[in-house]
Symmetry: D2
Subunit: 361 residues, 4 copies
Amino acid sequence: MAGSSFGKLIQLTTFGESHGIGIGGILDGFPANFKIDFEELNRFVAKRKPGQSKITTQRKEDDDVEFLSGIFEGKTTGTPIAFLIRNYDSKSKDYDNNKVVYRPSHADFAYDQKYGIRDHRGGGRSSARETVARVVAGGLALQYLKTKGIELQAFVDQVGDIRMPWEDQHSDELAYTENEIEASILRCPNSNVSSEMQSLIEKTKASGDSIGGCVACKIVNVPVGLGEPVFDKLNAVLGHALFSINAVKGVEFGAGFESVTKNGSEHNDLFEEGGKTVTNYSAGIQGGISNGMPIYFRVAFKPVATIAKIQNTIDADLRTSSIQGKGRHDACVVPRAVPIVEAMSALVLLDYYLLQKVHGQ
Amino acid sequence: MAGSSFGKLIQLTTFGESHGIGIGGILDGFPANFKIDFEELNRFVAKRKPGQSKITTQRKEDDDVEFLSGIFEGKTTGTPIAFLIRNYDSKSKDYDNNKVVYRPSHADFAYDQKYGIRDHRGGGRSSARETVARVVAGGLALQYLKTKGIELQAFVDQVGDIRMPWEDQHSDELAYTENEIEASILRCPNSNVSSEMQSLIEKTKASGDSIGGCVACKIVNVPVGLGEPVFDKLNAVLGHALFSINAVKGVEFGAGFESVTKNGSEHNDLFEEGGKTVTNYSAGIQGGISNGMPIYFRVAFKPVATIAKIQNTIDADLRTSSIQGKGRHDACVVPRAVPIVEAMSALVLLDYYLLQKVHGQ
Amino acid sequence: MAGSSFGKLIQLTTFGESHGIGIGGILDGFPANFKIDFEELNRFVAKRKPGQSKITTQRKEDDDVEFLSGIFEGKTTGTPIAFLIRNYDSKSKDYDNNKVVYRPSHADFAYDQKYGIRDHRGGGRSSARETVARVVAGGLALQYLKTKGIELQAFVDQVGDIRMPWEDQHSDELAYTENEIEASILRCPNSNVSSEMQSLIEKTKASGDSIGGCVACKIVNVPVGLGEPVFDKLNAVLGHALFSINAVKGVEFGAGFESVTKNGSEHNDLFEEGGKTVTNYSAGIQGGISNGMPIYFRVAFKPVATIAKIQNTIDADLRTSSIQGKGRHDACVVPRAVPIVEAMSALVLLDYYLLQKVHGQ
Amino acid sequence: MAGSSFGKLIQLTTFGESHGIGIGGILDGFPANFKIDFEELNRFVAKRKPGQSKITTQRKEDDDVEFLSGIFEGKTTGTPIAFLIRNYDSKSKDYDNNKVVYRPSHADFAYDQKYGIRDHRGGGRSSARETVARVVAGGLALQYLKTKGIELQAFVDQVGDIRMPWEDQHSDELAYTENEIEASILRCPNSNVSSEMQSLIEKTKASGDSIGGCVACKIVNVPVGLGEPVFDKLNAVLGHALFSINAVKGVEFGAGFESVTKNGSEHNDLFEEGGKTVTNYSAGIQGGISNGMPIYFRVAFKPVATIAKIQNTIDADLRTSSIQGKGRHDACVVPRAVPIVEAMSALVLLDYYLLQKVHGQ
């Protein structure tokens, strides 16, 4: 109810602020007796880390995950898994002027109005640093899902108006290899498009500005039957999860906003003998329930609000002032958003996978 | 957990199938001592009704709302408000062939796979008829919100590739009068665009086909502070609510997928003295919390799956068959989706309005 | 959150007031494809009915259950099961003076203070008539549990200070036959004790008074592993369920308040080869998790508050007044409480039975 | 759902095992802008600590509370408050034989059966050490409630068959001063009874055995209207909270199991002008809603299961074995249970206090 928890059978509760002791969480309900691959987990968590390349922020965050409970001799025990990622390089002095002015299109003003108090050393609870806890929990969920054959893959398919086409929404395999994605500092698996995107971001950054982008995600080998009509349709819960990520302004499944322009006769996915469909515009979900075809969707991220340009704003007395971003911020957030989209999707999928075990004899 | 409930302080639980006794719900947690305007409620519920014009299905459903509890002498008592809308004109014989074949891009197959049983007289629980319960509950929420000054307005802004521009996302007033919207059988307040849309739909219908569309919604006078970070951001819960509506394939807030192409310096909403912003690309929500500016969003509905054309499909043994829609179905669902979008939005707004009363002294 | 819902995977939401249209509920999450024995269900629901014998209230309530959804051709479909029991014989004139005075030890005053409005024709929502919805839902749960071998049995083991000893808390079988229990109008399976109780109640009733009592319950063949530590221990959720029944003032598991006087060496249940225990003072639950031994507990019901004697009270202006119960009320509530205790216990057991399916591979 | 969370608007989620890194929790939804008295909090947490006197276990646990988030410059920020209490003196070698045998009337067997894995270094998650997290969270809740005038007080009123009478359940004041309670190492405010209890416990301990006891609790100045009928009655949620505490076998409100022997004419609480009642057998709750009178209840704790005597048991292969408790355990748990009962009660009261803010205009 208070907003820091997500999930039903698997519930993640997060805590922490960008300039406090650290960020962490409790993952409750994770299946017992699961052997964690900590190396793989660290590799996954590192994907969200700032400072990975010249186009992302140079803040250094080691993001070492300290597990506090729920694991015994490398295996989950079925009890809550708590973890903490300490803040090392918070440099709160970069943020000193936040004490007096509200950053445009940031949550500072809304938090102050809601709670009447705010840790003004930085974004605090509203900072995207909170998502590191989601990536840790989601990383565990991904490992579990993989043992059941369910795989997720997100990548960048748009930066500004440069968009990479991809059309493998029908096959039961991931669209790209991990190498293809990781070879690009943008996490865009098409190297030509990736280069274009990189140029755009560098140009944008040089001008003291930022730019938005989209993350696409494909999920394969989803069992038929996941999703709980009518309010907890699988797409509704995925939508909830994705819109809970900082800076997300849009979510579309399958043909999404394009589907609006289609006729039913074009858009309908005709069945083939056996239950698969010829096309997959429905993106693997019908009536809120997975139908066995791949699930795929796109997520729109607005341009980063902190920019190096001077902007008009107001101070805590709501009087006119100005601000210039001095922190080390991303010019484009989407490469680092890729593991966050994967993590939130994995948490939803695992929750509904477990929920489906209740059904049937 | 089982999926038929939505909301926290205000919880709607719905029941019923398209060809059973009726559709209904329990609205628990509605504020006590509220005088209901039943005439207004009936008018609102009627907006969802089929058979309103030649472009919508000619099925006749009277949608008389029978209240079963929670109201005494015209006022709410604070106890659960239960209601039932009986099915009168179900004509299940139109659906007889569903017994043997799965309708493409319908939920029949997924339901059968999930539950191992399905009321094959029609869409059953997956039918959009279920949304009548949402409209009743949402209609009550709308009435309550209005007494607090909060107003919602949805309308059709796209059918196929015909899109109506509207740019009043900044003012504290609704964009259109109710008359402007209701004058159009499309619920599109621009009469020229509405005529175009109507022609397109008639042509589509004549060819035995269907077409998609978008519903836009604007909410004004939202108090600052609604929304519960980090997972229950106001936009995340709205996203959940909207994606739970049948046929929705996309949701975008503010500039949405367009925001991706913007620079931060363009997209940032600069503050004015007093706390309002010069622009409102953020759509009234920052960090998941309402900031006092209008909230607005768009919802994409796919083309109706039931069409008069013959389509290939499979039967319950998963073997090749074919189907031709014989029921009375909409060629375009968006005009009737308008009150559903309003209803779900109102339920979210009321829930978070009440939740915010907990904050503060 | 609003209080009218109970359960996790299986959620019952009830509605209705004693003098309105009726009482009903929605049972969401019930397993699909279950063939309901309606005759058995009616027999179970009838146990709660007033007017069964000269010691219970002579109000006539037929308690016909009208199912509104979720059942197709006699089987559950996995969608919400809604039902309505109409109020036929409400005779609200018996209650006219409630309009002006608060009944001592009734909820009238508290409801008025909480909600600022109350249906003063009777107990309204606070009436024990609400429990008929629980009995319907619990009756379905009982039928399902029985197919899994899990059986529940409640009976009256105390009225006033007359208490029936029973010591079969260890065997895997129910303590009594249904005939032994139903042969007694008190639902006390020891005929001598039952006769004593009956005399006491008749004497109490004749003097215009009422008396309290206890219901005992035993549950057998509970699988090992049910219960979710640490807050949702099986006994904690049973405790919640039982204290939600009107007039309950105490709940004890196993040796209960007697266990306080025991030494650990007496009270500990030593294990036998295979995992069963020699004694069963723990009442089948250790650390909040079922251990495979029978679960048993006792529930204390206070004397009925409505009595024929004149009592001092206050009116709605909180000024001194007096009241004399004129309605047809039970002198002792426990015989009719037996199916309610069984129903609430069955709902908990079924919920945790399903929840346990999530665990394991 | 997974069991480690409690509460609605205020939600406590705990983590940790007795022999791992530590115990901790996240308290989400705590009101913002509240100045914490850390000294008072430490004093409260220390009450649960072992090693306080010769009758409690001599394990040394410093129980230093390390706050990780949600507090800025000594005040709550409205964001989740996370905290960790490290395990310093776990001495897991005392527990080595647990690896092979199940301790009678402990949760070892049930955990192993449920999860298929268990941290066999000690009680793990089922250890009462988990309750330290509840005491931290409850201590914060107590401080907040006090600023609203609501006060709670628990004390020991029974050990074995020695019971202290107390009859101040009607006045709006706490029954005893804190000094009267803390002067007794039993936390029994009657010094004669306390001495008797102490003798009994010492004798019991000397014989290698343990004994049960009861904790009573009184809550004063509770506003009228708290509690959410029908399933979340204030007593039902308190019952849930109390039964979730380790070793609790019974809970009774007001006259409790004694009320069973009363006539309605004795037990009914007649109203006085103004709305107070002459007696308070109802214990401040009617129909699940607080009525403004003091709330009071008793909680029965079974004798501690770990005793120094040799007991028969089984090993992990379910074959006969024996065990002798070698750890440093309490002979009677109730003095240390006092703050736990207060903590859980405070969490419930705060939750329902906040929930009631939603009601009314």
